[in-house]
């Protein structure tokens, strides 16, 4: 039964990991920028959910609807005003720039929210379901379902909408897309906005499950790194595969050699994957 419980936990957690990573993967794939603010966006989303629930009593399920447009706007503005100026610069410059932005956002959060750990506790609590001996908390289950829905929405945007096809076109070949009349810098801003919106929504879901603190942003960012490298850049299915794989490795690793080593294991795996299979499990050039 322990094995079944580990498997179920990994599936539930894996979908959440995928949700954390998918915006990061989109930005990396389309803009060729490693977005180090991603972790802080997630934490800010968690604070948004917490604040709305504490002050206005708005349930986190509706908070997603508020977080998405707010974060899209935030991301769009950051890309338009700041990042678009250095898109042609080498990796070092874009990476350091997003690190600088992350320092600003994270410091602002520590300043306003303090570094205390907070928890969004639903009243009344939602309890848990158990099937045979496998127990899953209901809020976690709903969060996972929401993560899957968000992932599906991104897939549909990229697949069905005109702007989604333009994002894919820019990812495949920026110069060709430009020649076909795509406004590349505007597409960059939209893609970055989408990435930020996904991070914000992921943060809302995280608020239900994990404690909230500005200090947790690097842990989320680290998860996003690992999921992207394991699953491979460039596809929604890759992020899902990477998320579930990471959760499985962490779960099995914790059970076998102790939870203290789970992070070491996942990062060691990240380095090995980078060396032997840098395209990841399901990596491909086009974002479907």
């Amino acid at each position: 039964m322990l094995a079944a419980q580990i498997l179920i936990n990994a599936l539930v957690l894996g979908c959440l990991y995928a949700c954390i990573a998918i915006g990061f993967s989109l930005v990396w794939g389309v803009l060729n920028v490693i977005n180090l603010i991603h972790g802080s966006f997630i934490v800010l989303g968690a604070y948004l959910a917490w604040g709305l629930y504490q002050s206005l009593g708005i349930s986190p399920w509706y908070a997603i609807g508020i977080a998405a447009p707010v974060f899209f706007g935030l991301g769009y503005i950051i890309q338009r005003l700041i990042l678009n100026r250095v898109m042609a610069a080498p990796v070092l410059v874009t990476l350091t720039l997003t690190f600088g932005l992350d320092l600003i956002l994270n410091n602002a959060m520590i300043y306003y929210f303090k570094a205390d750990y907070r928890k969004l506790t639903l009243t009344p609590p939602m309890g848990s379901v158990s099937l045979f001996d496998v127990v899953v908390p209901i809020d976690r289950l709903i969060a996972t379902a929401s993560a899957l829905v968000l992932t599906g929405v991104l897939y549909l945007i990229l697949r069905r909408l005109r702007v989604g096809r333009a994002i894919i076109a820019v990812r495949l070949d920026r110069d060709a897309a430009k020649l076909m009349g795509v406004d590349v810098s505007s597409i960059y801003a939209i893609a970055f906005g989408l990435g930020a919106a996904l991070a914000g929504c992921a943060g809302v879901l995280m608020a239900l499950i994990f404690p909230i603190s500005p200090l947790t942003s690097t842990a989320y960012l680290g998860k996003a790194f690992v999921v992207c490298v394991l699953g491979g850049l460039g596809s929604v299915s890759g992020a899902l595969a990477g998320g579930v794989l990471l959760a499985l490795i962490e779960g099995i690793g914790s059970a076998l050699i102790g939870p203290a080593h789970a992070t070491t294991l996942s990062f060691a795996l990240l380095i090995i994957f980078l060396i032997v299979r840098p395209q990841g499990l399901l990596g491909r050039k086009g974002f479907e």
């Binding site: 060729n32 700041i82 610069a89 990796v91 956002l105 203290a260 990062f267 840098p278």
Partner: protein, 311 residues
Amino acid sequence: MTRSNLVLLALVISIGALPVVGGSYALRLGTIACMYGILALSWNVVGGIAGYPSFATAAFFGFGAYAAGVLLGRGASLLVSVSAAGVLSFVLAGLLGAALLRLRGHYFAIASLSLIEVFRELVNNATDLTGGGMGLNIPLTSTAGVMADATFFFYIMWGLLAGTALMVVAVARSKLGFGLACIRQNETAADMIGLNTTIYKSVAFGLSACFVGAAGGVYAAWVHYIDPSDVFDILYSVKPIVMALIGGLGSPLGVLIGAFVYLGLEEVVWRNYIQIHSGVLGVLIVILLLFLPHGLMSLRSRIVGWRPNRV
């Protein structure tokens, strides 16, 4: 030897006169200045000359600090501990570099960032050896008084800085430096004409870790207490990059000046805005990258028509 390298060595030597004129505060600042100089000059070997965006500085700084800390705790002398930290860092970085430096661009950056996480978690979990999250107390090496101690550690850090500067100048004058510049410009072409890029890059990575590890060791002995979140702080990786960007990538003199300018800014910000110091650092990074991407050394070319090494 180029003029800029001569100025670099002259600058380093002149810093050695600090204890004659300064008090204990100046000595503390001078020691940190030398440490930052070591980190920035070392990063420049792999990041500026070879063009690999390495974020591994903090990993080797922490590694060196723990290696020296553990040895000092077992009763080894400071000289032995710090040398061991440097040599071990060189070997470890050389071996890791042979594998990691096959990656390019973003992938290398992420792998080098992950090194910090892996090292930190390993140290965190090896409680028997390193004290884990409780940190490591390092015995006092001398008890000759505060000023004598401060002067002693200043000169050790300064000696390391001088060693780093000599290493950088030697690399720039040697075939290695030429090869690294070739790798930066076009690695495939460098490989094609018979340059063993793997060995060149590994040696460069090892050299860039060697003095950083030794500086970590001196830092550990200087502050007497280290813990994983302190010495494996990602800021130790980012600060050298910011310093190099302030000064101008690729030019050792520019990088060293960048380190000192950065320290001056940091000190002012720490003193006046302790609550928002990392936010101010972020603002500084953003402004720098948007408005002065080629660093302070590029200002000179605007004035007298001198061209810095562009990366």
